[in-house]
Symmetry: C2
Subunit: 362 residues, 2 copies
Amino acid sequence: MTTANPQNTEQATVQLAHGSGGSMMQSLIRDIFVQAFGNIQLEDAASISLAGSGANRADTQISLSTDSYVVQPLFFPGGDIGRIAVCGTVNDVATSGAQPVCLSVSFILEEGLPLADLKRIVASMANTAKEAGVTIVTGDTKVVGKGQADGIFINTTGVGQLPAGRTPLLARAILAGDLILLSGSLGDHGMCIMSQREELSFAADLSTDAAPLNHMIADVLAAAPDTRCFRDPTRGGLASTLNELADAAKVRMTIEERSVPVKPAVQGACEMLGYDVFQVANEGKMVAIVPHEQVEAALAAMKASPYGKDATIIGKIEPLSDEEKCEHSLLNQENFKVQLRNAFGATRVMDTLVGEQLPRIC
Amino acid sequence: MTTANPQNTEQATVQLAHGSGGSMMQSLIRDIFVQAFGNIQLEDAASISLAGSGANRADTQISLSTDSYVVQPLFFPGGDIGRIAVCGTVNDVATSGAQPVCLSVSFILEEGLPLADLKRIVASMANTAKEAGVTIVTGDTKVVGKGQADGIFINTTGVGQLPAGRTPLLARAILAGDLILLSGSLGDHGMCIMSQREELSFAADLSTDAAPLNHMIADVLAAAPDTRCFRDPTRGGLASTLNELADAAKVRMTIEERSVPVKPAVQGACEMLGYDVFQVANEGKMVAIVPHEQVEAALAAMKASPYGKDATIIGKIEPLSDEEKCEHSLLNQENFKVQLRNAFGATRVMDTLVGEQLPRIC
């Protein structure tokens, strides 16, 4: 697998790896989207300030997040594309510290999709929106011919409102000494999908973790108001999420491997199929970076949530050496920002996913 | 072509006509989406009130609109899928009376799409956003395998803010006696696309009208503050737009055929290919319903815009008879709500598009 920039030739084309949440997607974003859309924000949700009017009226801070969902198969144990489409966007909006308020939904339907499947997906979206406490307020439907899409693609875009006085949570607020919390076991969603595709015999033990985590985030913020930021480890898994955070905050992280919960069936599927569980997508897990003095309160709040009962502290933020702080040095040491320490104290690099791992996982 | 409800059987599947903006799409929306998403709003943009906090703080009213764009071909005279994706959503947000503020953008890319095409589309989106005065603040990219999509699909979702003191413009505000304005010629976008697909010899004379109309709408509202509502006649054309408005407001409309501008090349293409220009999609035109006493001011404001110099008054809102006001009667007379009067004074029904006319027009 190559890390060369394949977008720098005239004949270059989009590859599956451009959508996998790893380093190729990052360079596509940097080289094409950031360059054209100068004001695009690279957090999971963008923060926008709407001007108040008249005297005594403060600005209103909103958060906006969008995702298109192309997961295949459409239905799987514990969920379906509709549940993922609501959870993923609700969670992204919530990571900014905003309370998700409403969603738009846009369908691209392939001619020939059974209407019964569409109804089942739409019902699942309605139920999940209710679970999250958000309203689906507007929508759009497009139809393309047979063979021009694959069943159904769904875009959801979410709007959240920041409570008065809260500034948006940003990765760059992370400080050395902060602790890293994970709300539960890794790899459930990704290995559930892969086991369906590969028709694994133990697929029955694997189920998506897809869940709306906005209420859990609100509870953590109430208990630990100085929480630096949240991030849901979806495409590219925990490894890509932590590397993105480390890049943004210019810090080093150490993760204790034995502290990271992984279910036996997930571990088994990863070994059988050759996946690194740290690079596998999750749809119902949240990473929180919390200052040391508030970590117990944050952990207790997570554990009190039905979606966070297996929450643990998985690692901490390390200070950079003076040498590492030098920008030139940073550029050459991108691979050293997140370390994984095993039970025997040995460390290895937890690297961002490079190529394609699990296409169409969400 | 049948008007029977094909979604009412277990074996029913999605058909191209479900996406064409006509009556089959309306029944899909009614039977599936409205039923599941009880709070979905059927205007082009949804209006959401965000609660103010503290004393003296008013609610902030935002508008939210989403569309996925699947137009084929990706590039055509006067525009491309990127320009359409920005204009369409900006225009939908603006129809509510809101000032569009920002957009999210989400790409579904097919493996093998030339990156040069993606760059060209992204540059076009950036330029069009600048023309409209909106910021693209957040995005998402998914990649699907070769043959699982068709080049590129783009979702844009727009957020607008309503000026303080303005309530969202709604179709039900339309009253008998109001006049109907159209900002320019009909059918340019739809026949441009069809001429590309059919490789017509006179294709050179056809160009999309795609344009961001938010500034024109703001100017009309400043000049004619009691304007009832705006609507852009996209999929399904002017006929579907007017029928939707008439349904929502429970009014009858009469359109003067000779007042509706149609370019000769568009008229020729419609005749050659067998399309009704009133059912053909537009991407840079706006319908405004204006009270009689403000119509001259509204028309002057439209004509002063570079996108509205051919604006005209095309018809008026008629009162319903007492019989028509009876709900039972209305249900049976759906086809009689918009009348087209020709130069000789004869009238015919301007009907909503029923089946599929121009798939993947936007």
